[in-house]
Symmetry: C2
Subunit: 343 residues, 2 copies
């Protein structure tokens, strides 16, 4: 099996058939005789021939590449998602072309233009906000785009998220059932729909019970900023329960409260996070949190995207996937009989 770029014509010559015969052998569902298949396969093996995906892409217009736009990988949620996404896509015969982008807008736009240049068959935008021109440009380039873990105003785009508002509500109900009335919130980056929805659900449910938000700080989904937010929140008039917009920040908040402020959790204050990343289950944190069901998020994302690719005029969908509140050890548990409703 030698190689150095073997072409179908060379295989054809060796097999004593036409170049198109070779092509047919490597095209699932083309009509070729048993005999031809055999001859071609032999020749191909001998030369170490493998079809050139790019050439195929040029003529067929299908590159079998999916562009994935990601902003940051610090938050454990993303590596997990990326791994699953890539695996599922691979199984379905696609591959992922990764484009990193800083959260700073504008950048995202350029990145997607680049992506389009590579003739990707579809795009998954994970946790980034798209400008409206951008979505236009994907739409008109006829490249399906689905937003992963971020909602969008543009009704022509599909978006898959977890049920963020509902998750926020669950947290509120849990705190309420636990008897808390001085409840704080540490926000993520306020440009993110996930942040907005989690907060909105949380606050709304609180208010239905006549409880207002006791304190609020912004941590921007960043470790250091979350630490600072925690310090500010506990400088005076501390709340007795706080909802932190994601686990990544919750860890930072917990560490700050415990090791800097010497507090006991959940004795002095209850904390609930969002995501249920692997570290949330580590004994050091043992964080009560709302689970984002990565598997299902990914499965839906891929289904919708591929469906959209094969069938260009399906309607865009916006799907919200519900996740349970995972009760661990950072928030005081309400009476036994009320627990079931949070699962």
């Amino acid at each position: 099996m030698r190689s150095t770029k073997v072409t179908s014509s060379e295989v054809a010559r060796l097999a004593g058939v036409s170049q198109s015969a070779v092509s047919r052998v490597f095209t699932p569902g083309a009509s070729v005789s048993e005999n031809t298949v055999k001859k071609v396969r032999m020749a191909a093996d001998e030369l170490g021939y493998r079809p050139n995906v790019l050439a195929r892409a040029m003529v067929s217009g299908k590159s079998r590449m999916i562009g994935l736009v990601v902003a940051y990988l610090n938050n454990q949620f993303y590596p997990e998602a990326l791994e699953r996404l890539s695996n599922v896509l691979q199984q379905r015969g696609y591959h992922v072309l990764v484009f990193m982008t800083s959260t700073t807008a504008g950048n995202v736009d350029r990145v997607i233009e680049d992506l389009l240049d590579y003739q990707v068959d579809g795009i998954i935008a994970a946790s980034v906000a798209l400008s409206s021109e951008l979505s236009e440009s994907c739409l008109s380039a006829k490249v399906p785009l689905v937003m992963f873990n971020r909602a969008q105003d543009n009704p022509h785009l599909s978006a898959i998220t977890s049920a963020n508002a509902s998750g926020g509500r669950k947290v509120a109900r849990f705190f309420l059932a636990g008897g808390y009335r001085k409840v704080g919130y540490i926000a993520g980056w306020e440009g993110a729909s996930t942040q907005r929805d989690r907060e909105a659900g949380f606050v709304d449910e609180l208010e239905r019970a006549g409880v207002g938000l006791y304190s609020r700080e912004v941590g921007n989904f960043v470790t250091e900023e979350a630490q600072a937010a925690a310090r500010r929140m506990f400088r005076s008039d501390p709340p007795d329960a706080i909802f932190v917009a994601n686990d990544h920040m919750a860890f930072a908040v917990m560490d700050t409260l415990r090791y800097e402020l010497g507090m006991d959790l959940p004795g002095d204050v209850s904390i609930i996070g969002y995501d249920d990343v692997p570290a949330a289950a580590w004994p050091s944190y043992n964080l009560t949190t709302v689970r984002q069901p990565v598997n299902r998020l990914v499965a839906h994302t891929v289904d919708i995207l591929l469906d959209n690719i094969e069938n260009p005029d399906v309607k865009p969908q916006r799907i919200e996937i519900d996740g349970p509140l995972v009760i661990r050890n950072t928030a005081r548990v309400p009476r036994e009989e009320t627990i079931h409703e949070f699962r």
Copy 2:
């Protein structure tokens, strides 16, 4: 700016020039008159034209894609590396095509064949072992391959790692200087060169001082297995210092010792890890560990790979990058005057 696949010919027609003129305008360093540039740019903007990277790749033989093979993303070290790799490559005009593969061999081979089909200009194999046929097949396909964070027997391949043996030695000297004599080791996956080298350096340095390894268990770089390894190691005859082959496992070991066995760190036992992932600095762990300088690993990897792409017959290189022992709080510190040598 409409689109739906605009070609250079259409731009040419609108601009009143030949198709190749358009091509030249978009080819850095081609000779075109100011005037032509202007006309073409206008027409291109009006039509929303962007060159088709795939077509360019076909004729030029350069796809400007780099295949990246990764096994798992659980260990925080990999997302970090992936992010940096992707960023640096992007800056240099390349993009990353990601291929996931399970650690189970064989799989890796198929994945790389796939990668080759995409006509990637180069391959980065992160923490995976390659079969020798595989490396052959890359070599003969003239696609440069560099191993990231894994050494290789094949002398024709470049490999970038941190100075694992030397890192292991540092840990041993630190323990020795701290007066420990009952020293344990929790190993990673034994097929990994990183694991082997860290252990070899560690054990060798210990033995030079006449100290044998007191106990040893295997954690395979997996959380659950590391926990089990810790339990086994402390069932009887516990060591008073342990080196854990990477941070990811060290966290699991720490949690097991603290929360399951009720031990105090570093009071009852000292622990040192390897990698210095972000979580090592989190107050809950505050782990003393050997840093893998991701930035420099990545920079070298990219430099060597791109150099190899542009200049096909440069010699393969194997580079080891030294990293300091980051002294935090999980290992008792030797006398002040000896500390400097570990930095």
